[in-house]
């Protein structure tokens, strides 16, 4: 049949010569490639004893930030949950009581803040939506677990540790 285009390439297959028919040189050449890799630097690391550094813009586990006085920045405005394409974030807000000024930055705070890590796609839109710079995806990746309910991360896992600003300098 007439070809539709002129791009067809006809392959010529010559009969193999003696050395090629013996296969041994080809086998040795292949082994050589394999053995060469024994003496090279390993491409893998033995996780979890050794962990690779994450790239600078890696988006991992979320953390809820504190301000310079150690108060939670989140005011439960709901913009992260609104922007979330996977609908992974839920929250319940509460009003700050008298005497809690050292705990929460603003009048309103998130009493419950949960992220379903199975739903989350780590797109970082919550980070972009946050008007209070309260949420950042700066953690490592989500560790494995057995039950689905354990992937719903509450404030105990999300809120970052209190830190002393002066000791950082």
């Amino acid at each position: 049949m007439e070809p539709l285009s002129n791009r067809k390439k006809v392959l010529e297959q010559k009969p193999m010569n003696f050395w090629e028919r013996m296969y041994l040189p080809a086998v040795l050449k292949g082994m050589g490639v394999t053995i060469k890799h024994f003496f090279r630097k390993k491409a893998t690391v033995s996780y979890p004893e050794v962990a690779r550094p994450y790239s600078k813009n890696y988006r991992g586990l979320h953390s809820l930030k504190r301000d310079e006085e150690g108060r939670e920045r989140c005011t439960a405005c709901g913009l992260c949950a609104l922007s979330c394409p996977a609908e992974a974030i839920t929250m319940i807000s509460a009003e700050r009581k008298k005497g809690e000024e050292h705990l929460y930055r603003e009048e309103k705070y998130a009493a419950v803040y949960e992220i379903n890590m199975l739903r989350c796609i780590f797109c970082g839109l919550c980070e972009e939506a946050c008007p209070k710079e309260a949420i950042y995806l700066d953690g490592p990746h989500v560790p494995a677990d057995y039950l689905r309910k354990d992937f719903i991360y509450g404030k105990d896992k999300l809120v970052e540790e209190r830190f002393d600003l002066h000791s950082l300098r």
Binding site: C77, G78, A81, E106
Partner: protein, 336 residues
Amino acid sequence: MADNEKLKVSIDGIQVEVAPGTTILNAARQIGGDIVPPAMCYYSKLQGSGGKCRTCLVKVSKGSEKDPRPMPKLVASCRTTVMDGMEVQNITSNEVLEARKGVVEMLLINHPLDCPICDQAGECHLQDLGFEHGAAATRYEFERRTFERIDIGDKIQLHMTRCILCYRCVFVADQLTDKRVHGVLGRGDAAEISTYIEKAIDNNFSGNVIDVCPVGALTDKTFRFKNRVWFTKPVDAHRDCPDCAGKVTLWYKGEEVLRVTARKDQYGEVEAFICNTCRFDKKQTSDWVIEGPRKVAHTSVISANHYETLKPLPVVKENPKLQEANKYQFERSVRL
């Protein structure tokens, strides 16, 4: 001129015939669409409202058929009545857009911009106005005004810092309730909405000040910090109320009614004022006859993440076999 004669007006080049005595704003609303000037203080259901916020400024490029001279300054369209043959420019005039931008900046001078905390966020007219007409940054460098917090009862929360002094709530108090107990004290920069000697508002229609407030200065205390507006689902409902029309919007979260408001039209004005019993005391689904989900404009944030079904389809919730199988998955020791 006979009284029943219609006047011809053109707004942004669109012709409309209106009855004498109509304001430019209402003539524009008869046309509808983008050419309607925004209004922060004018409220068609409240007599005498308007003329305070200046966001509805328009340019009259031709006064009337008899006197075709343009008006010397921009005029407030909510207060200026139309003349025969009048030509009005709103969005086609750069002067108007520039002036409106200035007005928005002026309104935002003392506004605290605490939208992440404010319960009005999502249905706030000042937010919409700022988004559409305002500049991204402020040039104001001084302290914003603050007020001592005044408690005006357990149903309504007053945030004086957010107030833009539109006087709508004062007109509600004047026209809907018989014993007016709150008004504007002070003048100019020092003016503030307050109740006289901090007297609690207890009239049965006082709750309507929440609905007419274009910003978050007067909000529902029973809804305070309960949820964000865009996570709740508006559902139209009615009930046989002896005091008011009883036509309301219920704002659901799950199966719980978080808030009851009057139904608002496209200009954010209520269709009928509702009484405090409906607004604050009837928060059970059994109190109401449900009419169906409320239509929300797709441009509104309230339409985000919304599904059209009234109730989500029960999957695991009503199937004992699935419930048993997923027991460990649903079990959660504490809500954190």
